[in-house]
């Protein structure tokens, strides 16, 4: 029962308390770039969730079972980035073969995910927080993806309304998006301290 509670807590913590986008500044580029429309934002979120769960799990396994066993920690970053690039390729090939419609709708997002800092960032955070069980690593990776989707969808919803509002000329475009994101982080700060 205890382990189950820990898993639920770490899931909630990575989704809202330690949300990667709004408290750790990871994945800002797609957050600002793709969050113009809700359906696109949701598609991006789904793709990221999938890749981050896969690569978070695989990097944990490689890190614990290969690199730490043989004292190869120096090559950690190179391995991580290879795994992520590989995972993206794999997902791309798999989707193109078996779910062509889904593949079409993801479009350019899929290759872009390789350079999404949220994914490498999560793999590094799992390493930094010294997560020792595979299940917890999987839950954290999946939660990170859900958190990213949540943040990018909220942002897209706000931006759809922002287009109709009267913004000072100098602040149009990126500046007002950043300021909106800042106010959004204030809202998420309300969760801080809820779980350690």
């Amino acid at each position: 029962m205890d382990t189950f509670l820990v898993l639920i807590l770490s899931f909630i913590s990575i989704v809202v308390v330690n949300n990667l986008v709004l408290t750790k500044f990871l994945g800002i580029c797609p957050f600002l770039g793709v969050s113009g429309r809700i359906d696109m934002a949701f598609g991006m979120g789904m793709a990221v969730t999938f890749v981050v769960t896969l690569s978070g799990t695989i990097t944990w396994m490689i890190d614990h079972w290969v690199l730490m066993e043989w004292g190869l920690e120096v090559t950690r970053y190179v391995c991580f980035i290879l795994v992520i690039a590989g995972a993206v390729q794999l997902v791309e090939m798999y989707l193109r073969k078996f779910f062509p419609t889904l593949y079409e709708s993801f479009g350019i997002f899929l290759p872009l995910i390789t350079t999404n800092c949220a994914i490498l960032g999560l793999c590094l955070f799992i390493n930094l927080w010294e997560i020792n069980s595979l299940v917890e690593a999987v839950v954290l990776s999946f939660g990170a993806g859900v958190g990213f989707t949540l943040a990018i969808c909220i942002m897209a919803g706000i931006r759809e309304n922002l287009e109709l509002s009267d913004v000072p000329a100098a602040l149009r475009g990126a500046p007002i998006t950043l300021i909106t994101a800042g106010i959004l982080t204030l809202a998420f700060m309300g969760f801080a301290g809820m779980i350690k």
Partner: protein, 204 residues
């Protein structure tokens, strides 16, 4: 004659990174480190030095091997080159500045996926000779440093009343705690970008 045009081309490449194509303020690249490490000037400066080092080294290597690259493998080669130099920078920081290394945490390895570096490798180093690539890396790196330090000094000044850990504000100044939190990073950067827009519009 060719020498003079060479020099003018180099200086043009160098100055492009500072203002006209400033990676952070103009092209909106590399936002993650920009927002994450700018709570104070010192970590911002450390981060910038690391980025300049990695950018210069990877530009040199990419420029040297540009003729050997297969098009479909080039992004992978860029990433691996960058990851190698980031590992060097990370180990250096861990050995000589352990305090700063723990403070910056995962943001040093995250230089690997910093769009500035991979963007410059793709846009400049894979097409140009080694001299231009080096100068371009230095210019872009300096532009990155300027942007980071501007943002960091505003945030450090308002959140603690200090700059570079020297007290500059008068005693009655009440620190704005919010400036050191994520909201401070987003809003300050947004306002700086707005200010840039106003300046460019006046000049145009």
């Amino acid at each position: 004659m060719t020498k003079i045009s060479n020099i003018s081309k180099l200086s043009e490449t160098f100055s492009a990174g500072l203002w006209k194509e400033n990676p952070v303020l103009r092209l909106l690249l590399g936002m993650c480190p920009t927002l994450a490490v700018t709570a104070a000037v010192k970590p911002a400066l450390t981060m910038s030095v690391c980025v300049i080092f990695v950018l210069t080294c990877s530009n040199i290597v990419v420029s040297l091997m540009r003729n050997l690259l297969k098009p479909h493998l080039r992004i992978l080669m860029f990433t691996l080159t960058i990851a190698t130099f980031v590992t060097i920078a990370d180990l250096f920081l861990k050995a000589f500045m352990p305090e700063m290394s723990t403070k910056l945490g995962p943001y040093i390895p995250l230089i690997i996926v910093n769009c500035i570096i991979i963007g410059r490798a793709e846009a400049c180093a894979s097409k140009n000779g080694i001299m231009i690539s080096i100068v371009d890396a230095l210019g872009m790196g300096l532009g990155f440093t300027i942007a980071l330090c501007t943002l960091a000094s505003v945030r450090e000044l308002l959140s603690t009343g200090k700059i570079f850990e020297f007290i500059v504000m008068p005693k009655f100044f009440v620190p704005w705690a919010a400036m050191s939190m994520p909201v401070g990073a987003f809003v300050t950067l947004g306002l700086i970008l707005g200010l840039m827009n106003v300046i460019t519009r006046k000049n145009a």
